[in-house]
Symmetry: C2
Subunit: 106 residues, 2 copies
């Protein structure tokens, strides 16, 4: 593996890392339905505003979402919607794990 490959795997892993947090994943899925104002998140997410803001920054820095300021509010939307296309597969992983566990308990 040369250094170019290495850099590519690091870049890909970083995109995944941005999504690999419950709150950020929720945000991303939420944005799949359309853009949202930051204020709309804070109500649902049980965390400080600053925490939510930092999660948004991580997703933005990864290139997954983009923001637009309109008046006092900031709206976010998915920049690359396909990032969620594989979630049904992630759910399949979980389902397979659950199935294996219940098999053990049988």
């Amino acid at each position: 593996m040369d250094s170019r490959d290495k850099a590519l795997y690091e870049a890909k892993a970083n995109v995944l890392k941005a999504l690999a947090h419950p709150t950020r994943l929720w945000i991303a899925e939420c944005l799949a339905d359309g853009e949202r104002c930051v204020c709309e998140f804070a109500d649902v997410i049980d965390a400080d505003f600053s925490t939510v803001s930092k999660h948004l920054a991580v997703l933005k820095h990864a290139g997954i979402i983009e923001d637009e300021k309109r008046g006092k509010q900031v709206f976010y939307r998915l920049k690359v919607p396909c990032v969620l296309s594989f979630m049904h597969c992630v759910e399949a992983v979980i389902a397979s794990r659950v199935a294996a566990e219940s098999e053990l308990l049988r």
Copy 2:
């Protein structure tokens, strides 16, 4: 968001987290071509055997890969191959980021 939803987002994030490391992502993509012996990884990955082993354990624990011992060797294979189906999208995220950056430099 109730506690059941919360648990689901945590579970999904954990699957992503398992993939969100350059070495583990490389391993997963490598296994997409078919099963591999641990010994085959160690040659390519520039890291201690124990490090590789721990990465494999993370992927296994997440339910993404499974192992089988045959003789002295242990073989791993993808348990849920679709986990890599979205990698072209992750690459799209990177491409979009690169495009934006080169736009800035224009």
